[in-house]
Amino acid sequence: MSFAKRAVLYVARKRGKTLTLFLILLVIATAALSGIAVRDAAATAQLNVREALGGTFTLRQNMDDPSKWESREMNVGGVVAGTQQVFTGERITNDLGERIMGEVDGIKGFDASWSNAGVPQTLDGEFLELVSDGEDDLEDAFLQSYGDFGKTVPLTASTDTRFDAYFAKGYLELIEGEPVRHDSGDGVLVSERFAELNGLSVGDAFTLKQSSVYDSDELKDTDTVTEVRVQGIFREVAESTAGFSGWSASNTVYCTYDTLASVRPTHKDDGFDQITFHVDDPGDLGRIVEDVEASCNGSGDFTVSFDNGEVESVTAPLENMDRLVLWLVVGVLVCGAAVLALVLTARVRDRMHESGVLLSLGVPRGLIVGQYLVEAVLVAALAFAASVPLGSVAAQGLGDGLLEYASEQVANGGEGSGGGGSVRSDGATGMTVADSSSFGLDFEPNESLTDIQVLVDGRSAVIAFGAGLALVTAAVVCSSVPLLRRSPKEILGTMS
């Protein structure tokens, strides 16, 4: 009778002992699989959070260096009217952004932006209606008194609206059409409310011009009328307020640099205000910023700034959870291995009599140990097979609980940090957010954390099974040491 057949018969007939070993291995395998799955989920959650937080850094013109400025005569109507300071450093352009992206690894995309204001009109020259919350204050009334200045809206030139700060953070959402890019020509994005108010849809045309308050002898507002076409429509997902009601997010028009330069030709050579780069993993932000500074800031024409505190404060609870689960898994495996070794040692000792009988029949020791090993592997295979569905259920339950806890920690951390995904006041865009805490509550990663599926995948199962088989093999071999070391006479002596 082969040792494998003996092993199968033992497993099938010694049901109590088989069940004991099965339960021990089931607990170990389930704990290991659950732990691996929860760790994977925690890692996914960390990545989601970091991606949702949108690790960014901003490159701006360095205006503080006096050596970058020079005085030039200001000529008005052929007459020198004085001097003006002109920045002489390298300007921020789309090409600069593309060059940096090409040179530095880990950058997902960028958006160069320039914000100004313009007056939207129909093709017939009539003012378009602006979205208003019906709370015109004195400042609005004051603006109205300056002719069409009260009809101005924020114009934001963008090289890629997908990476605009508000779109990237999810506060604005493109619901129709295409994003505006550097090469979008006359394409613009308008808000859903603005489009509905003026009966605009994707493909419709209207015009933009500069306010007549900037009129001079050389340049009238009528000279700046620029025809644009609605390329996409966005929706405001988050609540926002602005300094002037006309400069709200609802009235903002996203356009190309060429469009804005055509509307405000006196500033056409100024370049973009800033470039916001989005990185793949905010964890790499420090390294990426160093690379960017090394790549382009030798001239001192730019400043680079970033704030990683938000990411760290939010991901810290998840990292703690990751460590907790790791220690949990290690603890279970160590305890499990100890219990397994004890149980298997007891089994082998208990079977010394059987070993002696087999030895007396001339069965080599190796085949006796082989039988014990096959028995353990058979039971382990059954336990591991059962642990996959059980581990999935346990992992989902454990993972949900831990991720919910981590979510609370994230929310608390976000509020405490003062960041929390809020959009800070930004005069350059003309859009400010009065109540940042409202964004903190709608912080997207909080929702996505508990939505994460905690699954026992194939890789986890293979790792657990491999480790389990190694553990079982080691335990059987170690527990068989007495059998391997004792002489046949000693073993048979125990049989009398």
Partner: protein, 266 residues
Amino acid sequence: MSNARSEAPIASGGASLSDEAAARILRAEAARAGTAEAVVAAAARTAEGLEEPPLIEVDDVRYSYGSKESRTKRSVLKGATAAFRRGTMYAVVGASGCGKSTLLSLLGGLDLPKQGEVRFAGEPLDAAGLAEHRRRNVSFVFQGYNLIDYLTAAENVSLATKLPPLPLLEKVGIGPDEARRNVLALSGGQQQRVAVARALASEAPVVLADEPTGNLDEVAAEGVADILRDTAHRMGKCVICVTHSPMLARKADRVFRLAKGRLIKA
């Protein structure tokens, strides 16, 4: 015995026959005759008349427990010498602790003597290796049956052979129904018969039995003793029993008494 002696010259008269061949013929004749007396007589003729070379023998074997430095060193074998031949059932008797089981373990290749030699077919055991000796040359029957408790009777026998187990079990009086039962469901006598069947199933020519009837009632013990004797006589095996049982000793062809560390023909 006298018969055996008188017939010996007849068998050995054929000059072309070797001693071993002649012994084989005698055993075959005896088996054909079918009577226990004839079998016993044939075995006796083989053993004494033809001087068949011993199958396994101990030669001036000495064995003691405890190390040389130990104050509790105890010598159990002090120059034991004996030869054991095929087709014969031997009984080794003696007081408890006199070294009977030690002698059996030395014959079985479970240990080596401190001095002297154990030989199988004329070769020292340690020449071919003890494990090889255990695997090929000897099979054991123990007092405690030593069956594997999660196997049936038939499966226990199958541990020792690839041949069908049922005919072997039938030879020792275990029917097909009992053969398919778990051994724990059998009586003590039946279990010992299964153990004997397992020993017989092995192709090993030497059967070493340690108190094979020690746990059995009289009837069962006699049955097992008969089986062991038949094993020697019909299958030509060398059966060596260590026992306290007078009944088993009576059934044996040869009896050795182990006293003061030496084997003495009884």
